[in-house]
Every structure is written in structure tokens, then in C-alpha cells.
């Protein structure tokens, strides 16, 4: 992925803080169109903060975020979402009292599109996650954890995103379900050319899936490289694979 294209998302020197606690201390990150980028790191490294900062909250104190050549640093969250950057947030945050169908429809409501386009995205989501098809009339809160994660991703896909941000999609899921979800992401990337940024603690899975990976420590990117190559590095293995198991 070293082709010379303009990155879809470019982050330069991004700083963000919660009050006095600085969570991002000058982050640089590029995502090329059509690639899957994994962001790995320990708890509290600032991964989720980075993802939320792309969406404008917390607001960047310094630095720039450019999406498709446009500076989106100061935009409101809903304006950023309308540029067709979608996310499956940490903790999934589906609407528990609304049905699965309504949840999916919510994903499509804010972005313009004809009924036919929406029906097509719905079809895509339901072929990727056939389980949701069975659950369409069920309330979101009654789904299992894995189904809720599928719903959260499906809801994000309903806006036909150009960039999909996934925050810890494997959190709390059985390995089999995790594999299903990761397979779906790979399919989306290969068949639809969807660009994905995935934040994970599960470094092994994420780096195998991704074209490239970034490692984050204490609010800074400390390492970057191709996914499989990162996976081979001893310091990564020590910190996030073998080391991770011991803790």
C-alpha cells in the first residue's frame, strides 16, 4: 500500500485532552483509500480518544484532520458523520428499545439517498449478517452481544460510508463470532473497496486482518508498518501477544 495516492484520512500532529489530562500528544496517521488500518495499543493508550477525536469529540487542541482533502478538524460531530464517515462506537451503543430494522434505518436517515439506494444498502447489510435478517422485528436490546455488534456495524454501513471506524468490535465476543465479524469486514473491504480503521486490543486478529497497523502508547504512535510485519516484531509479540496473555 505504498502507492502514491492522496490519503482518504490524514491526521497531522493531533493533540486532544480531557481537561488537563492530555490523551493525544501529537498523533500522525494516514489511511489510504481502500485499505484496512489497525490501531493497536494497551488500555488507556488513547486509541478510542483518537477515534472520537476524528468525530470532533474531544475537540482537537492542535493539529489537523483532513478527510478527502477537506479539513474537518473543527466540524460538529453530526456534520462529520454526514461526510459519510461512519463508526461502530465503543460499547456498540445501539438503540435498545427500537427494533433492529429501526436501528438500521437510523443509520440511513441522516445521509441523503433514494429509497432504492437504501434498499440496496439494507440488502448488503443483511447478506453480510444474515442473523440480522431473522431479528429485524426484534428490539435491539434483546440481541446477544455478537448480534448487537453486527447491528452496530450494519447501522454504520447503512449510510454507505466512505470510511468506517470500528472501535473494539471483538470486545466481549466469543472467538467464533469475532471471526465472523472480521470476515465480514474483510469481505466489505475486498468486494466493496471499503476503507476501514479498526481499533483493537486483540492485536493478533487485528493485525492479520489489516494491511497496515499503528501501535499507540501513551497518546503517541510508536510504531507503524504492514500488518503481518508488525505481528512478527518481537517487541509487539512481547507487549501485546504473549505479554497480553499473562495479564
Amino acid at each position: 500500500m505504498s502507492t502514491i495516492t492522496t490519503p482518504l484520512l490524514a491526521i497531522r500532529g493531533l493533540r486532544a485532552a480531557y481537561g488537563k489530562i492530555e490523551a493525544l500528544k501529537g498523533v500522525d496517521l494516514d489511511i489510504q483509500p481502500g485499505e484496512i488500518v489497525a490501531l493497536i495499543g494497551a488500555n488507556g493508550a488513547g486509541k478510542s480518544t483518537l477515534m472520537m477525536s476524528i468525530f470532533g469529540r474531544p475537540r482537537a487542541r492542535a493539529g489537523h484532520i483532513t478527510f478527502d482533502g477537506r479539513d474537518i478538524t473543527g466540524l460538529a460531530t453530526h456534520e462529520i458523520a454526514r461526510l459519510r464517515i461512519a463508526q461502530s462506537p465503543e460499547g456498540r451503543r445501539i438503540f435498545p428499545r427500537m427494533t433492529v430494522a429501526e436501528n438500521l434505518q437510523m443509520g440511513a436517515d441522516a445521509t441523503p439517498g433514494s429509497d432504492a439506494v437504501r434498499a440496496a444498502s439494507l440488502e448488503r447489510v443483511l447478506t453480510l449478517f444474515p442473523r440480522l435478517q431473522e431479528r429485524l422485528t426484534q428490539r435491539g436490546g434483546t440481541l446477544s452481544g455478537g448480534e448487537q455488534q453486527m447491528l452496530a456495524i450494519g447501522r454504520a454501513l447503512m449510510s454507505r460510508p466512505r470510511l468506517l471506524l470500528l472501535d473494539e468490535p471483538s470486545l466481549g465476543l466469543a472467538p467464533l463470532i469475532t471471526r465472523q465479524i472480521f470476515n465480514a469486514i474483510r469481505t466489505l473491504n475486498r468486494e466493496d473497496g471499503l476503507t476501514v480503521l479498526i481499533v483493537e486490543q486483540n492485536a493478533n486478529h487485528a493485525l492479520r486482518l489489516a494491511h497496515r497497523g499503528y501501535v499507540m502508547v501513551n497518546g503517541l504512535i510508536t510504531m507503524a508498518g504492514a500488518g503481518l510485519e508488525l505481528l512478527q516484531r518481537p517487541e509487539i509479540r512481547a507487549a501485546y501477544l504473549e505479554g497480553g496473555r499473562r495479564v
Binding site: F55, Q87, R93, I94, A101, D109, T111
Partner: protein
């Protein structure tokens, strides 16, 4: 359901007899603190004007004992009927059965409402009561948009009711102000258009719009507030409006209120005994009941309009956004929903229907004063919404009927009326914490989409 069952057995040992006793003792202690001065000591003005007091520790002891025993009984009942958490999640068939009953009940209620003036034509009291109930149904449906759909706890809804009523009363007296430009300083002058018999029909939408404006004005400062904080600010807002009305004597007449508010007309034709009245035009003998019947149908139409708008909007993106906002504001933002406009629109729309109801109230009474717009009214309307099951249109109508109707039914009980209602509300909230009709009907798009989706799968598989 399996998880619920294990939940139940696991919590059983936790609530032992000691726990019940401890809880009862605590309740008794609170009762002691509360009633020590209220019941325990009685003061009165003595024969020469000085304050005399005597103690009633016997009664105090009786009350504390009653609370102690009552607390034990309530706790035992609670254990016997299962935990509240279990009651909160009824089996799916309960929901679908309720939905089926609701499907029949709603049209039946509507037909009954349409026939009320025919059946009870000679019973003015019942007609009056019907109008009152429908007013609260309308207020309930209006507040339901804000509280039930958008999930914004509004304790000051009566403010919009007041704004609507006073807008109508004041503008009907002065005439509709129409500003126009002039050539000389200050370049703007105002003409007051006298509306005559059309006053109600012109000013009804104006009152609604003014109330909506106040809804937006309230909405702006509370955009970032939620839950308890929002409740406190809206409560204060309701009181501010009432106090301003009470103290702005030169405009609102203060505590004396406004009288002589024009009565409604049947689209310009007055309901009077004179030769140009409706009765004379139809060639029937005049009866004061005509006005009651007209008012009844008027408020029924206004209430149905509120209901129709709420139901329609629920199926549109804005209504879905309200409901999603109630569930998770952060997720909404991430999906591209503009929370600011979503919130303000809910406040404005809810307030507008409150304003309509207020204008109706003013024209029905012919007299308004700040006394009609106390916090108690807000609390009553909110109770109707919560008891009815937040977000359920039918539930709100049923709750308004039982609450307002019940108030009248138990008029004979006098001061115990409130006590009975308090008890009923507590019991209802324990056994049906989601309200009378807690089942949330999915918006219709669902059905529609499901069929489309099913077609697509066939296509995909074939």
C-alpha cells in the same frame, strides 16, 4: 427468560427477614422525622391571640407504627409478586395481546367519544367533564412528544398552556397587531386588526406559534441538560412564566386574571340566542348546550390533530430521531443526527400543542388567571403521560380518562381523594412500571421494510 429465572432465585436469600426489618425501621425513622412537627405538635391561636400548642404523641406513635407495619407488608408483597425488575419485562405475548386489544380499543374509544354529545346531550355535567378529560388527553399527547418520544423530562409544560391561554386572551382583547413600515421615525407602526367573531380561529394558530416560540426559547438553554437537571430547569421555567403573569399587572391583570374572553364561534357564526346566532340560522330553538357540544367536538378535533401529527411524525426521520435521541444521544450524533434541531423541534412541537390547548381553555372558560397554571397542572399532565406508558398514545388517553374521570368520581371522598390517587399511582408504578400500555409499537416503516427485505433475500438466493 432463563437468565431472569436464575436472577430470581439468586436474589431470594439476599432479602431475608432481617433486611425487611431494617428497611421497615428505616421507613419508620423517616416517618418519625417527617411527622414529629406536623402531627406531634399542634399549634393554634389562643383566645387572646397568643400561640398555644399541645402535643399529640399518641397519634404520632400510631402513624410511625403504621409506617413500620406497612413497610413490612409492602416488602412481603413485593417478594411474593417477584422482583420489580421481572415485572418490568413482560412476556412477549403480553405485549402482542395488548397491541391487539389496543387495535380494537382505540377505534371503540374514538367512536364512543364521537357519540358522547349525542348520548349525554341532556347531562351538562358529563359534557363538561368530557371536555375537561379531552383537554387533558390533548395536553398528555402534546407532552408525550417531549417526554415520551424525545425523552426530555419536562416539568414545566403548563407554561406553554399558559402562554397559549394568555396569548389568545390578550390578542383577542387588543386585536391582532399588524406592524407596517412608515416614512417617518420610528418607521414602524402597528395596526390592531379587530377580529370580531373570527377571533378564536385566527388566534388559535397564533397562540400555538407563540407557545412554540417559547418552547424554542426554553430549549436553547437546556440543550446540554438531561434527566434531573433538565427537570429542574423546566420546573423553574414553568414557575417563571406563572410568576411573570402574576406580577405583570399592567399587561395580564395579575392575580385578577382576564375576563370577558371572546367565546368561540362556529367559523364566524356565534352561538348566541340572537337573530344572527347559529340556532336562529338553523331554525332550531336556542339552547346553551349547543355551545358545550361545539366545544366538545372542537377539543376532540384538536386532540385528534395532536394525535395524528404525533403518529405521523413517528414514522418520519424526525420522529425516529426523537426516539433514538431518547435512547442514546451520543450514538445519534455519530449517525449524523443534529441533536440541536432535533431537541428544539421536540420542544417547539410539544409546546405548540400546549398552546393550542391553552387557547381552547381560555375560550372555554371565558376567564383565566394565574391560578389555573400552577405546578400541579404540570405534574398532573406528566403523571398522565407516565401512567399511560411513555410514548403510547392510547395509554395516555386511557390515563387521562382514569385520572380526570377518577378525580370526579371520587369527589365525594373529599380530601382523601389525593391520598387514594397517591396510593393508586404508587401501586401502578410498582406493578406496571412502564405504564398502562408499556408496549412500544414499532413504527410502520418496519413492516414495509421487512417485506422489501424479504423480497431481496429471495432475489439473492434465487
Amino acid at each position: 427468560m432463563a437468565t431472569l429465572a436464575t436472577d430470581r432465585t439468586s436474589t431470594q436469600p439476599a432479602s431475608t427477614f432481617a433486611f425487611i426489618l431494617k428497611k421497615a425501621a428505616l421507613s419508620a425513622l423517616v416517618a418519625l422525622g417527617l411527622f414529629l412537627l406536623m402531627i406531634g405538635i399542634r399549634t393554634e391561636a389562643g383566645p387572646s391571640g397568643q400561640l398555644i400548642y399541645w402535643t399529640r404523641f399518641g397519634e404520632l406513635a400510631a402513624i410511625v407504627a403504621a409506617v413500620f407495619v406497612g413497610s413490612i407488608v409492602v416488602e412481603l408483597l413485593r417478594q411474593w409478586s417477584g422482583r420489580i425488575g421481572i415485572a418490568a419485562t413482560p412476556a412477549p405475548w403480553v405485549g402482542s395481546a395488548l397491541a391487539k386489544i389496543g387495535k380494537l380499543l382505540a377505534p371503540a374509544l374514538l367512536i364512543f367519544a364521537l357519540l358522547v354529545p349525542v348520548i349525554f346531550y341532556n347531562q351538562r355535567y358529563l359534557l363538561d367533564l368530557g371536555i375537561l378529560v379531552l383537554t387533558y388527553v390533548m395536553l398528555g399527547w402534546g407532552l408525550n412528544i417531549v417526554v415520551g418520544l424525545a425523552g426530555l423530562l419536562d416539568l414545566g409544560y403548563v407554561a406553554f398552556y399558559a402562554v397559549g391561554a394568555y396569548s389568545y386572551a390578550l390578542l383577542a382583547q387588543s386585536g391582532l397587531p399588524l406592524p407596517y413600515l412608515t416614512g417617518s421615525y420610528p418607521f414602524v407602526a402597528v395596526d390592531f386588526l379587530q377580529l370580531g367573531p373570527w377571533a378564536f380561529w385566527v388566534l388559535l394558530p397564533v397562540s400555538g406559534l407563540l407557545a412554540a416560540l417559547w418552547g424554542v426559547l426554553l430549549g436553547f438553554p437546556v440543550l446540554r441538560l438531561r434527566g434531573d437537571y433538565l427537570a429542574i430547569v423546566t420546573l423553574a421555567f414553568g414557575e417563571i412564566i406563572r410568576l411573570v403573569i402574576l406580577n405583570w399587572q399592567s399587561l395580564t391583570g395579575g392575580p385578577n386574571g382576564i375576563s370577558g374572553i371572546p367565546r368561540p364561534t362556529v367559523f364566524g357564526i356565534p352561538l348566541t340566542p340572537g337573530p344572527d346566532g347559529l340556532a336562529a340560522m338553523l331554525g332550531v330553538p336556542f339552547s346553551p348546550t349547543h355551545r358545550l357540544v361545539f366545544l366538545f367536538y372542537l377539543i376532540l378535533a384538536l386532540a385528534l390533530l395532536t394525535n395524528w401529527v404525533a403518529i405521523r411524525l413517528r414514522r418520519l426521520p424526525i420522529g425516529r430521531a426523537w426516539e433514538a435521541m431518547r435512547e442514546d444521544e451520543v450514538a445519534c450524533r455519530a449517525l449524523g443526527i443534529n441533536i440541536t434541531t432535533t431537541k428544539l423541534s421536540a420542544f417547539a412541537l410539544g409546546a405548540m400543542f400546549g398552546g393550542f390547548a391553552g387557547a381552547f381553555f381560555a375560550t372555554r372558560q371565558g376567564f383565566i388567571s394565574p391560578e389555573s397554571f400552577t405546578f400541579q397542572e404540570s405534574a398532573l399532565v406528566l403523571a398522565i403521560v407516565v401512567l399511560g406508558g411513555m410514548g403510547s398514545q392510547l395509554g395516555v388517553a386511557l390515563a387521562a380518562l382514569t385520572m380526570i374521570g377518577g378525580f370526579e368520581l371520587f369527589r365525594g371522598l373529599d380530601q382523601y381523594r389525593m391520598l387514594v390517587f397517591g396510593a393508586v399511582m404508587v401501586l401502578l408504578m410498582i406493578w406496571r412500571p412502564r405504564g398502562l400500555v408499556g408496549h412500544r409499537a414499532p413504527s410502520v416503516f418496519l413492516h414495509h421494510r421487512t417485506t422489501i427485505a424479504a423480497d431481496m433475500v429471495k432475489e439473492g438466493r434465487g
